[in-house]
Amino acid sequence: MAMNTSIGATLHAPASRRRRLPADASIFLVLVAIALIFEALGWIFAGQSFLMNPQRLMVIILQVSVIGIISVGVTQVIITGGIDLSSGSLVGLTAMMAASFAQTSDFARAVYPAFTDMPVIVPVLVGLCVGLIAGFINGSLIAYTGIPPFIATLGMMVTARGFAKWYTHGQPVSMLSDSYAWIGSTGMPVIIFLITALIFHIALRYTRYGKFTYAIGANRQAARVSGINVSRHLVTVYSIAGLLAGLAGVVTSARAVSGQAGMGANYELDAIAAAVIGGVSLSGGVGRITGTVIGTVILGVMTSGFTFLRIDAYYQEMVKGVIIVVAVIVDQYRQSKRGRA
């Protein structure tokens, strides 16, 4: 038993404590590297700096802030071991519905002539509620019928897009109030994105909601045996993802000062890509909001950098696809190395 006394002591032995890099250090370095590559290419091919341009940096973040808002929700879904394909369509649907309650009475052909000139809170709440309900339906289907998240959210993706088109028979919803447009004005989408990210960063790290989210993704059966109401929790997580898609829909329509049924097309894929690049594991249980935010910015830097270098949009997509796959390969390699350690 002499051996055993030393075992307890090792818990506090400082020598055995390994140095750990912050979890997102490596992905942050990738971001820096990509930015520096564009900086170098900028001087070589365009004769100017890529980074020393505050306006461009602003645009980079602005461009990806809507994707960023969605990906905060998608990240949480992926951490539970699920997937959400419906977020892009929900942006379209909520953009339409929110916008239809934000029209001014100057417009003769408003969707709801009786509901023009509403206070700005009304369209915002409509957008958020529609997103929340759609997310709630996703979550309930997944938790209580047992169909895979891929199928449930694929169904929602198609249905919501159809709903958005039916809503005005494809007509855009325009002539929105100035107060609504303010939500999408310069800087606002970025602020909304960062606040959203901060709230859910805190939620995932410091609340029981967060702990349970990781537990379900790491081992659903063990989570249940540990007394977690897995079904109810999944409904909550998908509802939050829907709510955030609704928020993104409000921001998108406010920024464009109109609602269009095609808004948010393929955003779900960019949001998933941002999360995966940021180190969120598709097998569940692993991932952080900080990583997702960096992943989102990487997507933005790439788009902006390619445009800056006047590279064709075709090549942009090709390179983006490759980077997503490489990110997952690197992630798997890291995981397996850790498993062996």
């Binding site: 051996m3 055993n4 075992i7 307890g8 090792t10 818990l11 055995s16 404590r17 390994r18 750990r20 410091y206 609340t207 029981r208 909601y209 702990k211 349970f212 990781y214 537990a215 790491a218 081992n219 059966q221 063990a222 989570a223 249940r224 045996v225 540990s226 007394g227 977690i228 109401n229 594991s281 097998s283 249980g285 692993v286 850790r338 498993g339 350690a341």
Partner: protein, 511 residues
């Protein structure tokens, strides 16, 4: 030792049939940390049924998987009809005339019966197209020979487990195998289906095949087997003619080991009844189970795998709520519909499978340990009081002597014993009054085992009612105040510590 692969299983001399179809000698197989088979031998006569018996983990399935080419042995000699063979894959085994029917069936549910049987060997019409008519004809002929009545064109997923079993057997026969290995083939069959299976086995025997029959059921042994070999703890114990032995002889061979380990069981005052279970049933799994557990008592639960012991535990804890019966705690009947409810009533449940239902492998020690207690403590307004929770986990790690660099190590990097301690710690943090442990020491080293035994004893001393399920007889006998035995979904007896011995319990477990 020469290693040669026989590709054509042609008998060396047709006039003198060898005395043994298969001779195996000196087989050793180790898995990380365990010697599964230690210098084991086995011989199979043609035209006979040879039963293999032994407790869980005795090594019988491992030996058969080696013979069928599933596992590679560390060493050993294998002779088939007198010729040296060395099988490197199940396919090679099949080509050499050895077919194994696994416990877990390997049929493709969305393919037809005929397609499943002739897969990779489909009759062709030329141009690579499959001759379906010929395939159906061959299947029908095969089924006629074995008097199986199944439509060859039906998809396998529409068939019962018993029918699938028959198809597996027909498939094995279609290879013209000389040796058929059946691993507990009757575990999912009704009595009538068992009769049919036995008829087929007798026909195969009459055709000169050698059949290895792994079973836990004593009555089957006397009904179908000619010889029986017994294994225990990875060692070969002996072979007897089934007409020469009694049930008691076999049980003695299966369990006859000395208890060399010392168990730190302390005598503690037994309190009042805490948990009381009456006529508890889970439809199709176990029936009418009734027992009591008292404060400070350790109730051991014995029984073979599949006897329903783990299912009873899962039902009491609300993982699979009961279909009938009552569970009362301190005399109050309760409806336990989920683990959350069970926990609210002071229960804790260490599951059998550490990897599948215990650990959050990708999370660290701290998260793994605190996950259950967060439903009851350390949370205000949704926020986790991480400092207090971490301190509690740290203290628990020290008390249980968990060997880990720190609380932030991923649990998958810990040894099995330390993982188990973390999981036990998870439940102790919830301060349970009733602790259910399913195989608390499976797959962990001797040192950690002793520590866990000591801990269980101490918990009982503190007045916790402990239910301990275990496949290890010495553990059950050494730790329990009473032993409850299950067999095929029924409680077959509850034995007091003084009356409990290996023979009594094995007898109840195979009744």
């Amino acid at each position: 030792m020469s290693s040669q692969t026989v590709t054509n299983a042609a008998p060396s001399d047709a006039s003198t049939l060898p005395a043994y179809l298969l001779e195996v000698e000196g087989v050793r197989k180790t898995f990380p940390g365990v010697v599964a088979l230690d210098n084991v031998g086995f011989r199979l006569r043609p035209g006979s049924v040879h039963a293999l018996m032994g407790e869980n983990g005795a090594g019988k399935s491992t030996l058969m998987k080696i013979i069928a080419g599933v596992f590679a042995p560390d060493h050993g000699d294998f002779r088939m009809k007198g010729r040296e063979i060395r099988l490197k894959s199940p396919l090679e085994a099949l080509e050499n005339g050895i077919a194994m029917i696994h416990q877990e069936l390997n049929l493709m549910p969305f393919m037809t019966v005929a397609e499943n049987i002739w897969i990779r060997r489909e009759p062709k019409m030329g141009l690579g197209f499959i001759d379906h008519a010929e395939m159906r004809r061959r299947t029908q002929a095969l089924f006629d020979q074995l008097s199986i009545d199944i439509d060859p064109e039906i998809e396998v997923r529409r068939l019962s487990i018993a029918s699938r079993q028959m198809i597996e057997i027909a498939k094995a026969v279609s290879f013209n195998s000389d040796i058929l290995i059946m691993d507990e083939p009757t575990s999912a069959l009704t009595e009538k289906e068992v009769d049919h299976l036995f008829r087929i086995i007798r026909e195969l025997k009459a055709a000169g095949k050698g059949i290895v029959y792994i079973t836990h059921k004593m009555n089957e042994l006397f009904e179908i087997a000619d010889e029986v070999s017994v294994f225990r703890d990875g060692k070969y114990i002996g072979t007897e003619l089934s007409t020469n032995v009694t049930r008691d002889d076999i049980i003695r061979m299966m369990v006859g080991r000395e208890i060399t380990q010392m168990f730190p069981k302390e005598t503690v005052p037994i309190g009042e009844t805490v948990l009381s279970v009456r006529d508890l049933s889970l439809k199709g799994v176990f029936h009418n189970v009734s027992f009591d557990v008292r404060a400070g008592e350790i109730l051991g639960v014995a029984g073979l795998v599949g006897s329903g012991r783990s299912n009873v535990a899962e039902t009491i804890f609300g993982v699979t709520p009961a279909t009938s019966g009552t569970i009362s705690i301190k005399g109050k009947p309760l409806v336990i519909d989920s683990p959350k409810t069970a926990m609210a009533h002071g229960m804790a449940f260490l599951t059998e499978d550490r990897k599948d239902t215990g650990c959050f492998l990708v999370l660290n020690v701290l998260e793994n340990m605190q996950m259950a207690v967060l439903s009851q403590q350390f949370v205000t307004g949704g926020f986790v009081a991480q400092n207090s929770a971490s301190r509690a986990c740290e203290d628990m790690c020290e008390a249980l002597r968990v060997k880990t660099p720190d609380l932030y190590e991923r649990i998958e990097n810990l040894s099995g014993g330390n993982q188990q301690k973390v999981l036990i710690g998870r439940w102790l943090l919830t301060k349970p009054r009733i602790l259910i442990l399913d195989e608390p020491t499976r797959g962990i080293d001797v040192g950690a085992k002793a520590e866990i035994h000591r801990l269980i004893s101490r918990l009982a001393g503190d007045g916790v009612a402990v239910i301990m399920i275990s496949s290890e007889m010495p553990e059950v006998l050494g730790m329990s105040d009473r032993v409850m035995v299950m067999h095929e979904g029924r409680l077959t007896g509850i034995v007091d510590r003084e009356d409990a011995d290996q023979v009594t319990i094995m007898d109840l477990a195979s009744r």
